[in-house]
């Protein structure tokens, strides 16, 4: 058993165990930290497969961005040290059963299928090759999706600001003149909150 194999199994164990802990622990802050380790394990698997650029992107975007964002939102919305409510036993049991059956079905299908790799020479996933193809406008280029994703990110940015904006009068973002009975008590809570 070579060192590479041992590292692979260690990374796999890190990813799966922390992933399982992230969805089962009742401390929400610990769940975020377990998610962090699971994402680091996946980045390690990308390094193991020698896709260094994707591994770096994984660490920068997920570990440095999304997990920090999740931790901030936990601080904003949860009271510290409070446990998540316990789930009904039946719900947990049937969810576990459904997940296990799905996994078994998928793996049976995968193991029955033989994947035949291509015989052509490999392209190294270097940053130069990635950049050339990313902005290429020929048949294999990805210039159009690149531009579409940049528009999507701009839309998401503006959308986040509009959604999370606290309006000056304390009114929840809703269409003017369509305040129904259900929404009114919510506005009252908001107004008392802003007075306090």
């Amino acid at each position: 058993m070579s060192g590479s194999t041992i590292i692979f199994y260690l990374l796999a164990a890190l990813t799966l165990v922390s992933g399982a802990m992230a969805v089962t622990t009742r401390h929400i802050f610990r769940a975020a930290i377990y998610l962090l380790f699971s994402l680091i394990g996946i980045a390690g698997l990308y390094f193991w497969m020698q896709y260094e650029f994707i591994a770096a992107v994984q660490i920068v975007v997920y570990v440095g961005g999304i997990v920090v964002l999740i931790i901030f939102s936990i601080f904003l919305t949860q009271s510290a040290g409070e446990l998540l409510p316990k789930q009904k036993f039946g719900r947990t049991l049937f969810s576990a059963l459904a997940a296990f059956c799905g996994l078994a079905l998928t793996m049976v299908q995968v193991y029955e299928h033989t994947f035949e790799g291509t015989q052509e020479s490999a392209i190294a996933p270097t940053v130069a090759n990635i950049g050339n193809q990313m902005l290429g406008v020929n048949d294999t280029g990805y210039a159009l999706p690149f531009e579409v994703v940049s528009m999507l990110l701009l839309a998401a940015l503006i959308g986040c600001i509009v959604i999370a904006l606290r309006s000056p009068k304390g009114v929840v973002a809703t269409t003017k003149g369509q305040l129904t009975e259900d929404i009114k008590p919510v506005i009252n809570i908001k107004e008392t909150e802003s007075i306090n």
């Binding site: 990813t15 969805v23 929400i28 996946i42 896709y51 992107v57 964002l69 969810s95 986040c160």
Partner: protein, 105 residues
């Protein structure tokens, strides 16, 4: 099935991670933990793309590009979802999905 890690091992990790995420999505009732489950699911998909790129079509980089775009879209999705969650918490003082029934009106 050998002990030497290859495509099938990575596919197993990816499938297991996917269904861990599905299990979390079924059992959790807090919006932030449900978002964490979605992140796990998206990451398992990325792992699949990279594994197929490396072991089945190493002469192309398409799997890698799909992974990059999925990461970008997942980041945008997480940001919008957290903005909605914080707004929901402001108006309902709770982010439990069982208690947010007013959202549909």
């Amino acid at each position: 099935m050998t002990l030497e890690p290859g495509l099938y091992h990575i596919l197993f990790i990816s499938a297991a991670l996917f269904f861990i995420g599905v299990f979390g999505f079924f059992t959790r009732r807090n919006l932030i933990t449900m978002l964490m489950s979605i992140e796990l699911i998206l990451n398992s998909v990325n792992l699949n793309f990279i594994a197929f790129n490396k072991y089945v079509w190493p002469n192309r980089l398409d799997g890698l590009f799909f992974t990059i775009f999925v990461i970008a879209i997942a980041a945008a999705e997480a940001a919008v979802a957290i903005a909605i969650i914080i707004n929901l918490y402001r108006s309902h003082q709770s982010i439990d999905v069982d208690r947010t029934t007013e959202l549909k009106y």
